[in-house]
């Protein structure tokens, strides 16, 4: 920033009107007016702001400004996480949640990719598939859990099926949009060289749709996390969702927020994983 002062919006300095220009000389600089509209995220500013909020939160707790029952201080949450990790309770809950997310996500993703590609490549599948997806996609999948429990029993299956359903629709949509977005000229090029259909799908359409598919993974990962917590709150003995609910019932707010922090970290870790996948697979972009 040219002035060194911190401003909310990046703007060009207004010309200094206090110093009159000399009209006789007829010489004045062209005022710069091209600044702004290019914000850069400063990593450091973000971390400092986060640290400040956490410090303020801790101070509010330590100084007794807020009741620690309603809002436990960060240190208390950290202590709770440490104890949960030490006692092994954390791993037990976490492993159940990860198992459900993993299984549900993989099933939903495989089905979504198959259906998405069919919709992207076949007129029949497109006509039928888009109608069904448009009708079923808006249903909040958690509303189907009771029905799925009736169908599949009270074990893991209904929870996994709920997650798989949620993941399936988003994946199918992002896959067929990705297939649609593959530049037609590349497909025509491949056809002009007599490349067979399966090779066009594998070498042109799949890599061309991959950016959209990976962007879909980012959405389905958060859908899966949302659904696993909801499903575990409705009916589960173990799992982060069940743990958070129990802690709330027992007014153990430090434990409750410990669970929330774990969920946040889990979400961040998955996001990182997808970033790494993108860097590896989409390095050509």
């Amino acid at each position: 920033m040219p002035s060194g002062r911190c401003r909310v919006l990046d703007r060009a300095e207004q010309p200094d009107t206090s110093k009159p220009t000399d009209p006789a000389a007829g010489l004045r600089p062209v005022a710069f007016r091209g600044a702004g509209f290019a914000p850069k995220a400063s990593r450091r500013a973000g971390w400092i702001a986060l640290a400040l909020v956490i410090a303020l939160w801790q101070l509010a707790g330590s100084a007794g400004w807020v009741n620690s029952l309603f809002l436990p201080a960060p240190l208390a949450i950290a202590r709770a996480i440490y104890q949960l990790a030490q006692s092994g309770v954390l791993w037990k809950h976490l492993s159940y949640s990860i198992m459900r997310i993993g299984t549900g996500w993989i099933l939903g993703t495989i089905a979504g990719i198959i259906v998405g590609f069919s919709i992207g490549l076949s007129s029949l599948a497109r006509g039928v598939g888009i109608t069904f997806i448009s009708a079923l996609f808006p249903i909040p999948k958690i509303a189907l859990l009771p029905l799925l429990i009736l169908w599949l029993g009270i074990g893991e299956e209904p929870k996994i099926a709920t997650i798989a359903l949620g993941v399936f629709f988003s994946t199918a949509i992002s896959v067929y949009s990705g297939v649609d977005a593959v530049p037609r000229n590349l497909i025509r090029m491949a056809q002009s060289f007599n490349v067979p259909f399966h090779a066009i799908v594998r070498r042109v359409i799949w890599p061309g749709a991959l950016p959209s598919i990976l962007a879909g993974f980012r959405i389905t990962a958060s859908v899966a996390l949302l659904l696993v917590v909801s499903a575990e709150m409705i009916g589960a003995e173990f799992g982060i969702g069940a743990f958070v609910l129990q802690a709330g019932n027992l007014m153990q707010t430090d434990q409750l927020l410990a669970g929330v922090v774990i969920l946040s970290l889990f979400g961040l870790a998955v996001g990182r994983l997808i970033n790494m996948l993108e860097v590896r697979l989409l390095h050509w972009r």
Partner: protein, 257 residues
């Protein structure tokens, strides 16, 4: 091998774009197709190359292609149509992957095509790292790798700046010099047509009909001579006078309802 346009007509919906176009291209011969914008030049090329089904008439092949040809009719595209996730080498190898060729033999052909287009040092780079001219060289190397009988070139230089265009034109002249390969060269640039083609098919404004077929009475090698410049320029002017009125009408046309 000859490529024949046999009374080809085509319409998009109610819009008539081509009307009864017939001509023949033989291997070793370069035929340019010129005409005002929107006259169906590119549509005609797509039909000739089997990428579009004509409304009436058909594209035909006569005679055998060279036995070594993997793809007798091969396109070079205006927008290059390179796979952005493949390196230069992989892009050139792409059409050969399904020909049943062994890896070693394929590499030999790809290496040769890269050498002929001056791309050997760029084989590991990705399209986005290359300039427009180099990208089109990759498109040409890919076309050469399948040993085409007839190249179908759809405004291959239109996306490039004038200096790069000049350089690639010299490349084309070099590649066409050995005489084995024929080409259909669609362009709106009359200078390119006059410098490259043996015959120039002049299409009328939409719906495109053949207005005239102009032969260039010089070999490509002779056209490089400084003394030929005047004659080429007058040919170019002659073509322009054929197209000018219709180009004005085409430009002023309002699209849609």
């Amino acid at each position: 091998m000859d490529l024949i346009a046999d009374h080809i007509s085509h319409r998009f919906g109610t819009l008539e774009v081509l009307d009864d176009v017939s001509f023949t291209v033989s291997s070793g011969e370069v035929v340019a197709i010129v005409g005002p914008s929107g006259c169906g030049k590119s549509t005609l090329l797509s039909i000739l190359g089997g990428l579009l089904q004509p409304g009436a008439g058909q594209a035909e092949l006569r005679g055998a292609a060279l036995p070594a040809s993997f793809n007798p009719l091969t396109f070079v595209f205006q927008d290059f149509a390179l796979l952005p996730w493949c390196t230069v080498e992989e892009n050139v190898a792409f059409p050969l992957l399904h020909t049943g060729l062994g890896a070693a033999e394929r590499q030999g052909i790809v290496g040769d095509a890269l050498r002929r287009t001056g791309l050997t040092d760029f084989q590991g780079t990705y399209p986005k790292q290359l300039s427009g001219g180099m990208r089109q060289r990759v498109g040409i190397a890919r076309a050469l790798a399948v040993r085409p009988a007839i190249l179908l070139m759809d405004e291959p230089l239109s996306a490039l700046d004038s200096q790069t265009r000049e350089l690639l034109m010299e490349d084309f002249i070099g590649l066409l010099a050995d005489g084995g390969m024929g080409a259909v060269y669609v362009t709106h640039n009359l200078e390119e047509a006059v410098r490259l083609a043996d015959r120039i098919v002049v299409l009328s404004r939409r719906p495109g009909r053949i207005r005239e077929i102009v032969s260039i009475p010089m070999t490509r090698a002779e056209r490089g001579d400084i003394n030929a410049r005047g004659q080429l320029l007058s040919l170019q002017n002659e073509l322009w006078s054929l197209i000018r009125e219709e180009a004005i009408d085409a430009e002023r046309e309002v699209q849609g309802a």
